[in-house]
Structures are given as C-alpha cells and as structure tokens.
C-alpha cells in the first residue's frame, strides 16, 4: 500500500504534482504547510509536495536501475561460479571478496567524481558496489541445487550446461533474487540519500529525497517541514520495500523465511 502510493506518486508526478517542482516564487518562500501547499514551501517558494513527488521519480529510478544492474551482474557471475565451480568459482569469489572488503563509500565517491554526479554515475556506482552480495547468495543457492537429484538426473541425460542453467537452475534461484531485489531497493534509496547528504547525489535543481533532506537540515529550526517531509517519505519507502521483501519471502519460500517469520 505504502509502496503503491509512493510509486504511483512518483510515476505520475507530472500529472499529479500540484506545482512545477523547480518553479521559483520568491514571494512564497518558507511557507508552512497549508491548504495551498500541503507540505509547505522551501526557501525559493517551491512546493515541497511536488518536489517530494518528483524526488520519488529520481530516487526510485536510481534504486531500480542500480539494483537491476547489481542483480544482473551478481546473478550471472553467481550462476557461473556456483555451477561450474573450480577455477571459475575461485576467480569470481575472489573478485567478490575484493569488492566486499572494499569500503563502498570510497568506490561510490570515486565513480561519482570520475563520471560526475549524474544519474548514470549513480546507477553504475551503486550497481558495482552491490553485485558481490548477490553473487554470493546466488552461488550458495546453486551449490545446494546442484547436488539435488533432479539436476543430477538431467545432467546425466546429457543436457548441455547452458540449458541446465537456463531451464532448471535459474528458475530456482529466482525467488531469493526477487526478495533481495525488493530489500536492496530500500538500501539503494538510502545510499542515494546518504550520497546527497555529502553533496554527491542529485544535481540541483533536480529534487531527490536525499538532497531535499540535507538541504532542509539547514532550515530545521526555521522550517522543519523541509527535511521532515522527505525524511518521513524515505523512511516509509524503505520500510515498504523491506516489508514487501519479507512478504515475498514468506510467500515463496517459507523455509527461507523461517528465521524471519513475524
């Protein structure tokens, strides 16, 4: 439900948003929430609600694309590593180790600085940082699948590796992937807002939740709605994705969720 509101709000921002999120109206600066501006206005008189809605687009876009990237990379490599084992496994897992042992923020900042803090840079940076965890998970799943009777049976019938992977192994790792996607989405959104706090996220005047919160902190005592509104929305969105992840897991695989059942 939460997610629905956030996603729809973001998707249809151009039609739903009451105001242009970048239209400056200095005379309306720093108005508290009212009927005209449900969430008040910022220092330039821009409507906070509209900005939060457009911010959702940016944050969701960054979250989804970077997650997809991490998943694609992680799944492919994890499948290869887990299925073939041996040298391929060694190499992939060592690279994963390096990635995991690497302080993620440095990587993020580095890519940000190299490519410039653009959307593409955010996608890449968050994707590169996120793949190793996925790869590990997928590999572990594949390892346990590989020993199961149905896979060994198909193999003994002489099916080529590629088909075994595509037809039998991959569908079986899909569930945990879905779960990790939903939860990782929340994590990506959080990471984007943290980067914005350090001044490395979205470019002004484009609103993103992170840049709205950090920009609003300066006004915390003067106009608290500036940072509270996007802050609460981020919390709700991340919360929503986590809950969806929980639900997905419980639904698809009660055994997996065993230690997590609420």
């Amino acid at each position: 439900m939460l997610i629905l509101v956030v996603v729809l709000g973001g998707l249809f921002a151009p039609w739903l948003a009451p105001y242009d999120p970048t239209a400056i109206a200095m005379d309306d600066a720093l108005e508290p929430p009212s009927v005209g501006h449900w969430l008040g206005t910022d220092a330039f008189g821009r409507d906070v609600l509209s900005r939060v809605m457009y911010g959702a687009r940016f944050s969701l876009e960054v979250g989804v694309v970077s997650r997809l990237l991490a998943l694609m990379l992680g799944t492919c490599l994890g499948l290869v590593a887990g299925y073939y084992g041996g040298r391929a496994d060694q190499i992939v897992m060592r690279v994963a180790d390096v990635t995991l042992a690497y302080p993620g923020l440095l990587l993020l900042i580095a890519v940000m600085a190299a490519v410039g803090p653009s959307k593409v840079a955010l996608f890449l940076a968050l994707g590169v940082v996120g793949w190793a965890g996925v790869a590990r998970l997928v590999r572990a799943q594949v390892l346990s699948l590989k020993e199961r009777e149905f896979v060994t049976a198909i193999r003994s019938l002489g099916a080529p590796h590629s088909r075994v992977i595509a037809r039998h192994v991959f569908p079986n790792v899909l569930t945990p992937i879905l779960v990790i996607f939903s939860m990782g989405l929340g994590a990506s959104i959080m990471a984007e807002s943290s980067l914005s706090f350090l001044g490395l996220g979205a470019q002004p005047p484009r609103p993103s939740w992170g840049s709205m919160i950090s920009g609003g902190l300066d006004y915390l005592r003067v106009a608290p709605w500036l940072s509270l509104a996007p802050g609460i929305v981020v919390t709700l969105a991340v919360l929503g994705f986590n809950l969806v992840g929980d639900a997905l897991r419980d639904f698809f695989d009660p055994k997996l969720g065993r230690t997590q059942r609420r």
Binding site: M93, P103, G186, S193, L198, S214, G231, T259
Partner: protein
C-alpha cells in the same frame, strides 16, 4: 581449525593485493590533482611542477605502481601529502576513536536488540509486541544522517541532556548519541531476528519438554530459545561491526567524531593518495579479520557448520 585459519589468512594476501591495485588505478583515473589541494587558491605552474616532482607524481604509472608495491612490501604506507604525517601514524591515532564508537554501537545493538526481541516474542500479539516490532522496522528504514540530526535536535537542543558532538574529555555522555545513531539499524535488525527465532523455538518440542520439567518461562526463553537466534545475530554483528570499524562517515561527520571514516573522507576530498590507499587497505584487513572471526565463531557455536565450505564466506 588451525590449518583452516592459516589458510584463510593466507588468502588475505591476494585479496589485499587486489584491493591495493583497484585503489591505485581508481585514484589514477579520478579527476582532481593531489598537488592542487596542497597549494590553496592561488598558485602557479612552476610550484605545481616542483611539488609534483617532489612526490614522484610525474613518473609513469607503472613506475609509481612498482614503487607503491615495494613500499607496501616493507609495510610502509607512506607519508600523507596533505599533513606530512606518516599514514600509519594517522590511522593509529584515529582508530581508537572509531573502535570505541563501534564497540559502543555494537553493545547497544546487541543488548537492546536481544531484549526487545525477547520482550516482543514473550508478549507476542500484544500492543507491546506491535509497538516494538513497528519501531524496529522503522529503525531499519531511517537514513542515518537524518536520525543523527533528529537525535541532536531532541536530546541536545530541546532537552539539553546530552552534549551534541565531539568526544569531549572522553566521558560516556559524548558517546551516547553517536553510538545510538550508528546502532539503530543493527538494533532493529537483531530485535527482529531474536523475536522470530524465539517464537520458533517456543514451538519446538524440547522447549515444551523443558517447560514440562518445571523450568520457568523466562528461563526457557533465554536458555533455549535464544540459542538458535545466536547464529544470525553473530552474522549481523560480524557484518555490521566490520563496517563500523571502517568508520561511519555520516555519523562521524554529524557528531564531529574524529574517527577513521572522517579521515578517509577528508583524504578523498583532498586527493591525498597515500592516506586514501593506507586507509582503504587498513579497512580491508579489518573487514576480513572480523569476517574470519565470525566464521570461526560459527564453527564453535554450531558444529554443523563445516569450515571447509565456509571458506568462501
């Protein structure tokens, strides 16, 4: 066990080499000249060239890489361009602060997480349960820096009961807010794990048996049920503690805490190559060491975990 530990530690070397190489190349392709951050706003080409030569920055890439590896082999992390202090000395100076904050945060996370989890499970389905679980879920979902600022606002500015930042004279009061901020996500997570594990265990026959033998309910909860929650808790502690140790940049910035994270961020912003390289390596070592410890702990706690496979974890 010993052989396993040894093998794992051997693996550190190639991984560290990988980390070092990635850092080196990354810093090379980054725009931003380290020399520029040494000269302030007004400088001339001659000064730049002189400084560059001084720091061997004008040498070809492979030569600098070789020089860097040779220094590393001698356990020499080099001297910071910006401060002129040996990098290792700076790290040694900053790390105790980071360790202190990380330990406090972890302690809070475990103590509160487990307590909340057990309480929620014990009063499952009650208003208390919903409140605790709800709080935990919200806790995981809040951006750290936002939480930090709100805590300062409430506890320092509104209530005036805790100092806002710094480590002051080392008194515990200065530690509370940053540690709470840092601990929030882990606390919430541990609470959820504990709660569900305890709930599962309550239905297990052996618990029923224990109860039949006349043990009090709280005793049953703590003694038996918690045991199963241990492994996932150790996982969280491992992963989170590892990352706390490499410095919580956001928390350290907000609370003016002079730890490793802040040090690294400053170094990145100033393109202080030796400092960045040193800090990254140090963090990687810490992270791997904590992971190794966690795996060893696994094996101790649960003999069913086979270490040979865990080598990949």
């Amino acid at each position: 066990m010993l052989a396993y530990t040894f093998r794992r530690i051997l693996w550190f070397v190639p991984i560290l080499l990988g980390v070092a190489t990635v850092t080196f190349l990354l810093l090379h392709v980054l725009p931003g000249d380290p020399v520029l951050s040494m000269v302030g706003e007004r400088y001339d080409a001659e000064t730049l060239a002189r400084l560059r030569a001084e720091m061997h920055l004008d040498a070809p890439l492979y030569e600098r890489y070789a020089r860097y590896l040779a220094d590393l082999a001698r356990f020499d992390l080099g001297t910071s361009y910006v401060t002129g202090v040996p990098v290792w000395e700076s790290i040694r100076g900053r790390f105790p602060h980071t360790l202190r904050l990380a330990a406090a945060a972890m302690a809070i996370a475990v103590v509160f997480g487990v307590t909340i989890g057990v309480l929620a499970a014990w009063r499952r389905g009650s208003a208390l349960d919903y409140m605790l679980v709800g709080g935990a879920v919200v806790g995981v979902s809040m951006p750290v820096f936002w939480l930090g600022v709100l805590l300062i606002y409430v506890f320092s500015m509104r209530l005036g009961i805790l100092p806002p930042s710094g480590f002051g004279n080392g008194s515990i009061a200065y530690l509370v807010l940053p540690a709470l901020t840092l601990a929030m996500a882990s606390t919430a997570y541990i609470a959820r794990i504990t709660r569900s594990s305890v709930l599962d265990e309550i239905h297990e026959t052996y618990v029923k048996a224990a109860r039949a033998k006349g043990a009090g309910e709280s005793r049953v909860l703590v003694r038996h049920a918690l045991r199963n929650a241990l492994l996932p808790i150790i996982t969280v502690v491992g992963v989170d503690f590892g990352s706390y140790l490499s410095g919580a940049v956001l928390t350290e910035s907000i609370f003016a805490w002079p730890g490793l994270g802040r040090f690294t961020l400053d170094a990145i912003m100033k393109r202080d190559l030796p400092a960045i390289q040193g800090a990254v390596l140090f963090m990687a070592i810490l992270f791997m060491a904590v992971n190794l410890l966690v795996d060893l702990l696994y094996a101790r706690v649960d003999p069913r975990v086979k270490l040979s496979r865990g080598a990949q974890t």
